[in-house]
């Protein structure tokens, strides 16, 4: 296998007929694996990578219904950050950000991890207090955070609406300099290539149609390409978690919702941070290619259609133009929807299930992409040791029974409102 580098690029430039090797193989499924991962998205691929890298488990198959990365890792707004205040979320997302920081090196694949900083703009003094709590917790957990006053925001983001006409004033902001963006597709490809090199079989166009469960223990999966036996089976199919878990007889605290995302025409650099807004959920950054990439709330009712409602598209465009009036003349090129698992507390699951040797990773709500490395890392640990890592111990299925919710959004038990 050839290592990617400036040198290898030059070699290929000098000899245009020298073929690049395949980024990952396309093997036929074997009859049996130690671990079968259901879902070739970011989390499933990352899990395979860390199973191999951290635990030496390489007799692993990833079964993907479509092409790898066809789910949410390929349809998000590419933001990475670790500004979470609730219990286990804080450490988990910081671990993720640390993994992001070394990811391109780790994978020998440039994921364009761009730590340009995220600025969340506050619209009231009360919101400044809410942000302060979050920022203080970050700092107390060794995470970078700065509280900015209005003047500092004006310097950093000169293009916001600071006029008297603004519906809500810019009161200040919280800034995480280490937050930023990463090239989403590259994350999937980089993990895939690395896992493949370690010996993991990535099997595309292979849909899981059922689980073989004997005496409360999973022994394999039925697929569109036949039965595959497995010592352990790990679900990582965010967006379709309920559907897949149901095949194993599980009913979950998960609803599938559409979150829309948007990209404009490419422009010369103008927005140099990830900018979020406290008036309504809204976040925008400029991709390396130049497009403004942004999003807002979920549409608010469960659906698998990947088609958004125009009323929500208006809401988000109104946010963009109201916060950043220059965007009025910028043209939207594409909008699309991803199906995400919403949980009643806005936090995910990385855990064992009532079925022995069957593991669950899902319920990512808005934060699936930024969680990818830590999700794979802790899920691999959970699968390898048949018990959670300290970082994901609280991401259990029984937390609602216990009253141990991690309610990051403070919205109560209405998944559709988050």
């Amino acid at each position: 296998m050839s290592k990617y580098s400036a040198f290898s690029l030059a070699r290929h430039a000098l000899d245009p007929d020298l073929p690049w090797p395949r980024a990952w193989r396309s093997p036929e499924p074997k009859a049996s694996y130690d671990v079968v991962i259901v879902g070739g998205g970011g989390h499933g691929l990352a899990t395979a990578h860390y199973l191999a890298k951290n635990h030496g488990i390489t007799n692993v198959a990833i079964l993907e219904r479509s092409y790898i990365g066809s789910g949410n890792v390929g349809r998000n707004t590419t933001i990475i950050r670790s500004n979470y205040q609730m219990g286990a979320n804080t450490g988990f997302f910081e671990h993720s950000l640390k993994l992001w920081e070394g990811l391109s090196h780790d994978l020998n694949f440039n994921c364009m991890v761009s730590q340009r900083g995220q600025v969340v703009v506050a619209v009231s003094p009360v919101q400044m207090d809410v942000f302060a709590r979050r920022g203080n917790i970050m700092r107390l957990n060794g995470i970078d955070a700065e509280l900015l006053d209005r003047g500092e925001v004006m310097k950093l983001l000169p293009y916001l609406d600071y006029s008297k006409d603004a519906r809500w004033p810019v009161c200040g902001a919280i800034h995480q300099p280490r937050a930023g963006t990463a090239r989403h597709d590259a994350v999937a490809w980089g993990y895939a290539r690395s896992a493949d090199m370690a010996g993991v079989d990535i099997i595309e166009n292979c849909e899981v149609t059922g689980f073989a469960i004997e005496n409360g223990k999973v022994t394999g999966v039925e697929t569109s390409r036949g039965r595959i036996n497995a010592g352990k089976v790990a679900i990582a199919v965010a967006g379709h978690t309920s559907h897949v878990a149901k095949m194993a007889g599980l009913r979950l605290p998960v609803e599938s919702h559409i979150l829309q995302a948007f990209v404009t025409e490419p422009l010369k650099p103008i927005v140099h941070h990830v900018v979020s807004w406290g008036a309504e959920l809204f976040y925008l950054s400029q991709s390396d290619k130049g497009g403004l990439v942004f999003g807002g709330h979920i549409d608010g009712f469960n659906t698998y259609t990947q088609r958004g409602q125009f009323a929500k598209i208006r809401d988000v465009a109104e946010c963009a133009v109201s916060l950043m009036p220059f965007t009025s003349r910028v043209r939207l090129l594409r909008h699309w929807g991803g199906i995400q698992d919403m949980t009643p507390d806005g936090s995910p699951f990385i855990c064992k299930t009532p079925v022995k040797n069957l593991y669950l990773n899902g319920g990512w709500c808005y934060q699936g992409f930024k969680a990818t490395p830590a999700s794979g890392w802790t899920y691999a640990h959970t699968i390898a040791n048949d018990e959670p890592h300290a970082l994901n111990r609280d991401f259990s299925l029984d937390r609602f029974e216990k009253g141990n919710e991690l309610d990051e959004f403070g919205i109560g038990n209405w998944t559709y409102k988050q």
């Binding site: 395949r22 440039n110 302060a132 519906r167 390396d288 909008h335």
Partner: protein
């Protein structure tokens, strides 16, 4: 010179010359021109540089599919980048600039990228820029970003105006070519409301480039004008199809130079609800993929024809038409008719006889253009049956046609491959949809008219056009011949045939992987000319039939749409509605300073007390603690609960009992969600056996109302209760302070407001000056206090009455900041204590809950962790270091704790206590009141502060409630 304006002909208005500039140089065109046609007429052929390699580029098309000829228009705050010159109506004074080139498109320094081109193969950036250190990308990224991005936007706010609107029609016809016109007329014959939309500046579609069909076109346009039930809109693009037949239309008015000061919109976005939709969206011609097919002067054959026939612009010398199908011959014949020497290189070996009979042009069968050399003058290299190089001004290419299936695909129906036309057509239609013309793969004019008429309902006959339909015979040629030189598939993103091969080699097989890995089809043109070629090439490389490779998903919008058009007027001050108290006008006129509280504007503080909130609220608090103040509490949610089961209903939704509340009494109540978390609190008063007056917090008023309606209408339908919002009907004002009763006595002479008549939590309804008044003895501040509720219409009048009659007592208004601070002193929870994460017990209210009765949230509030002793619960804090500050959001630690992690709690609300003369706070703390008296540390690392405080009861003043009962 390679292009010139013909002395006559075309649809331009030669009596209306128009001046414009490109890169500061002045040019002239005519009304009816596009920027692109005017530039060609001025022989400007080099108009841009490509995204990655900075290769010189010219105008390729005459429509929305243009990948190359992108300009930055206008100046200053109206700057607009990346506009395809092919869809810009030429207006007088238009300023345009070329982009992505420095110092000019002719001498672009970044053209040096072409030398390094072999490095820039697809996916190159995934393979490098990773070293030497971990964060190396942060070093490279700024260079990459600057090189990317095409045009530059302005940071200035957009001065123009945009509108959005809703509309409805019976039949929407999208596209006004022959099929669309026939559909619209046919549909109108049925009597319904017909809307015909055309993205171009004129109706007619492809007919605008066919002079021989002008008679038919003009006749139909006349009929459309005369049909009272057809509305026809030009400059209007259907950008997307959404659920249940909502089509979003964007109408552009730039050509009218709208004046925002006069309310004229630059663009109008219509959310159209159509009962039926006819898609007559036509087809887009594809380029051929051969070496250097991107040189200026290489154009789509149909574009050559459009510039000739519609705009009167022709190549001066020779033209080569390269094709694999019949349609390009029309361009060849029309050029020849204008005296242009034309050579057709047709890759098909068999050419229909009727085409060959026309001996005005030279036709080379079995011959392809394989390369184009030259800079200003082109040299087309022909290979096949004939091998020669032809010097020419223009190469018109036609690789066949791709039906515009974007909109039909938005609804979720995937397009299917039709081998006969070598293109994708709609894979089916919803019941109310139909298609007609080229989008269906129907390329014959009369067939399209017949199809259109049928799609429109077929209620009237549509006249046939002249001439006979000829088949669109194509022998597709996807893969380029093996030649040196870049053969482009996606011109804007510089994706070549080689890049597709590389992607295939590396395993990026799926069409979505191909798109994402190479960026194919992700430019401003959204791959309108390139997508089908690329996926056909990939299918061929994989040895799959094209239909098995599939297409990428078509995403709205069909063409780029300004965010301003989507946002319309719901921006700036109109972003979200502003909600104003009935007393708003008084506050505004009398020194009230407002603060945004959700949608509400509330009086924050008053100038009488100070010029900053910090100075004013303390004075206003003092007023209430020592005298009497009046405050606007109209924003509280107010709900009329009536019916024989009203008491039972409230008994269910509140944790505490309401069934036995006596008439004329108020009670504080707390509601939970089903999950046991506190939803809201407020006071509810029993007006009669069957009527209650409920108040909610300002923030939760809407939620609570909906929740009560939900329970009554869907869950407990056996309860006879009606709820109605009174939030807007009633105004509320709090009269608070030791002199509050005196103030009431002065205001309402003759009304007995004595403690005996109106005790704490009592209610008194009476009429004052003929106006019903509801007087409630409630206290948020902890002082002797009342709330006066009355019809909102009279609010200002009564408020002024209070100020007048209470003047001798020093009665003055106090605002939200003082209101919120007074309640902190009293230890009332609000705002951040009710943050949807806290239980009844967390707020110290657990004892309120009824033991015997059932209530919403009862079961789940018993969950083990909700009952855990280490839950964070409400405490008060006193600052121990007067020179320091307590701040909301500070994290709390026990005295000997290591200052790290999540701490033992946090501060929710802070105020200066007028009463105690020190800073106090409310907080949630691990174990809560068990720790009263302990010294703790408040950490605010964002400001590097550590502050000592003492845990105390949250009831800082009058814990026995003597004042309330005074």
């Amino acid at each position: 010179m390679t292009f010139r304006r013909l002395p006559s002909g075309g649809r331009i208005d030669r009596n209306r010359p128009v001046g414009f500039t490109l890169d500061g140089k002045r040019y002239r065109g005519f009304a009816g021109d596009t920027l692109a046609s005017a530039l060609l007429a001025n022989d400007v052929t080099l108009v841009g540089r490509s995204f990655k390699y900075h290769r010189p580029r010219g105008i390729m098309s005459a429509g929305v599919e243009e990948p190359n000829a992108l300009f930055t228009l206008h100046d200053g705050a109206r700057t607009e980048a990346n506009m395809p010159g092919t869809i810009v109506d030429l207006i007088d004074g238009l300023t345009a600039r070329t982009q992505n080139a420095w110092p000019s498109v002719e001498l672009d320094v970044m053209g040096i990228n072409q030398l390094a081109a072999p490095l820039f193969q697809s996916g190159f950036y995934y393979k490098t820029f990773m070293g030497p250190t971990k964060g190396a990308w942060m070093f490279y990224e700024p260079f990459i970003r600057r090189a990317a991005g095409l045009g530059a936007a302005t940071e200035a706010a957009d001065p123009d105006r945009y509108e959005t609107r809703f509309d409805f029609c019976d039949v929407l016809v999208i596209g006004s070519g022959a099929a669309g016109l026939a559909a619209a007329l046919s549909a109108a014959g049925g009597g319904g409301r017909v809307l015909l939309v055309e993205q171009d500046s004129a109706l007619g579609g492809g007919l605008l480039s066919e002079p021989e069909q002008d008679g038919w076109l003009q006749a139909r346009l006349g009929e459309i004008r005369n049909a009272s039930n057809i509305q026809a809109l030009t400059h209007t693009t259907a950008i997307g199809l959404y659920d249940d037949n909502m089509v979003v239309l964007v109408e552009r008015h730039d050509h009218r130079q709208p004046d925002p000061a006069k309310g004229q919109a630059r663009q109008v976005l219509t959310m159209l609800q159509a009962k039926a939709i006819v898609f007559a969206t036509g087809a887009i011609e594809r380029p051929l993929v051969f070496a250097n097919n991107d040189r200026p002067g290489v154009m789509l054959a149909s574009a050559v024809r459009t510039y000739l026939n519609r705009f009167g612009v022709a190549p001066t010398g020779r033209a080569v038409i390269a094709t694999n199908n019949d349609t390009a011959y029309a361009a060849a014949f029309d050029l020849a008719a204008q005296g242009v020497e034309v050579i057709v290189a047709d890759s098909r070996t068999e050419i229909p006889a009727d085409l060959q009979r026309r001996n005005s042009i030279e036709i080379l069968a079995g011959t392809s253009v394989v390369d184009v050399k030259g800079k200003n003058t082109l040299h087309a290299v022909l290979d096949g049956a004939e091998q020669r190089t032809i010097t020419c001004d223009v190469v018109g290419m036609s690789g066949g046609w791709s039906p515009v299936v974007h909109l039909t695909s938005h609804g979720g129906i995937k397009p299917v491959y039709n081998a006969a036309i070598a293109g994708f057509v709609p894979g089916g239609f919803a019941k109310t949809h139909s298609g007609a013309g080229a989008v269906m793969g129907t390329f014959g004019l009369n067939a399209a008219i017949r199809e259109g008429a049928a799609a429109g309902g077929g209620s009237i006959a549509i006249a046939a056009a002249g001439g006979e339909d000829r088949p669109y015979a194509i022998v597709p040629t996807w893969m380029p011949p093996r030649r040196k030189g870049k053969a482009f598939v996606d011109f804007q993103n510089d994706v070549t045939a080689k890049d597709i091969k590389n992607a295939h080699q590396e395993g990026y097989h799926s069409v979505e992987h191909l798109k994402r890995y190479t960026t194919l089809g992700m430019g401003t043109d959204q791959g309108k000319t390139s997508n089908i070629i690329a996926l056909a090439e990939m299918a061929e490389l994989r040895g799959l039939p094209i239909e098995q490779a599939g297409t990428t998903t078509f995403r709205p919008p069909y063409t780029g749409v300004s965010l301003g058009a989507i946002a319309g007027r719901t921006i700036g001050g109109h972003f979200r509605p502003t909600r104003r108290s009935p007393l708003h006008d008084w506050h505004a006129a009398n020194g009230g300073v407002f603060i945004e509280a959700g949608l509400w504007q509330r009086a924050w503080y008053y100038r009488w007390a100070g010029d900053t909130p910090e100075s004013a609220y303390v004075k206003e608090m003092g007023l209430v603690r020592r005298g009497v103040g009046i405050s606007d509490v109209s924003t509280l949610g107010k709900i009329d609960v009536q019916g024989p089961d009203a008491a039972e209903f409230l008994n269910r939704v509140y944790v505490n009992g309401f069934a036995k509340l006596p008439v004329g009494k108020a009670r504080y109540g707390v509601m939970l969600n089903d999950d046991g978390i506190v939803l809201d609190d407020g006071t509810t008063t029993r007006i009669s056996e069957t009527q209650f007056y409920m108040t909610t917090t300002t923030a939760q008023a809407g939620e609570v109302m909906s929740w009560l309606e939900f329970l009554l209408q869907t869950q407990w339908t056996d309860l006879k209760v009606q709820v109605a919002s009174l939030t807007d009907e009633w105004a509320g004002m709090a009269i608070s302070g030791p002199k509050a009763r005196a103030a009431l006595e002065l205001a309402f002479p003759g009304v007995d407001v004595s403690d005996a008549k109106l005790p704490y939590m009592g209610c008194l309804d009476f009429s004052f000056d003929g106006v019903p008044i509801r007087l409630l003895r409630l206290s948020f501040s902890g002082e002797l206090a009342y709330e006066v509720h009355l019809s909102a219409d009279y609010a200002i009048s009564l408020w002024e009455h209070f100020l007048k009659t209470g003047a001798s007592l020093g009665l003055k208004p106090y605002g939200l900041e003082a209101l919120a601070s007074l309640r902190i002193e009293k230890g009332h929870v609000a705002g951040l204590e009710l943050d949807h994460r806290n239980t009844l017990d967390d707020l110290g209210l657990g004892k309120m809950a009824g033991k015997e009765k059932d209530y919403v949230g009862k079961a789940l509030r018993q969950r083990p962790m909700y009952q855990a002793p280490e839950r964070w619960s409400l405490v008060g804090l006193e600052l121990l270091e007067p020179e320091k500050r307590l701040r909301g959001g500070a994290i709390l630690f026990a005295k000997d704790d290591k200052i790290e992690g999540h701490g033992r709690g946090y501060i929710t609300s802070v105020t200066w206590s007028v009463e105690l003369g020190k800073t106090i706070a409310l907080a949630l703390y691990n174990g809560g009141l068990k720790h009263v008296g302990e010294e703790i540390v408040c950490a605010f690392p964002l400001k590097n502060e550590l502050t000592r405080a003492k845990i105390v009861s949250p009831h800082f003043i009058d814990p026995e409630g003597k004042r309330l009962h005074a």
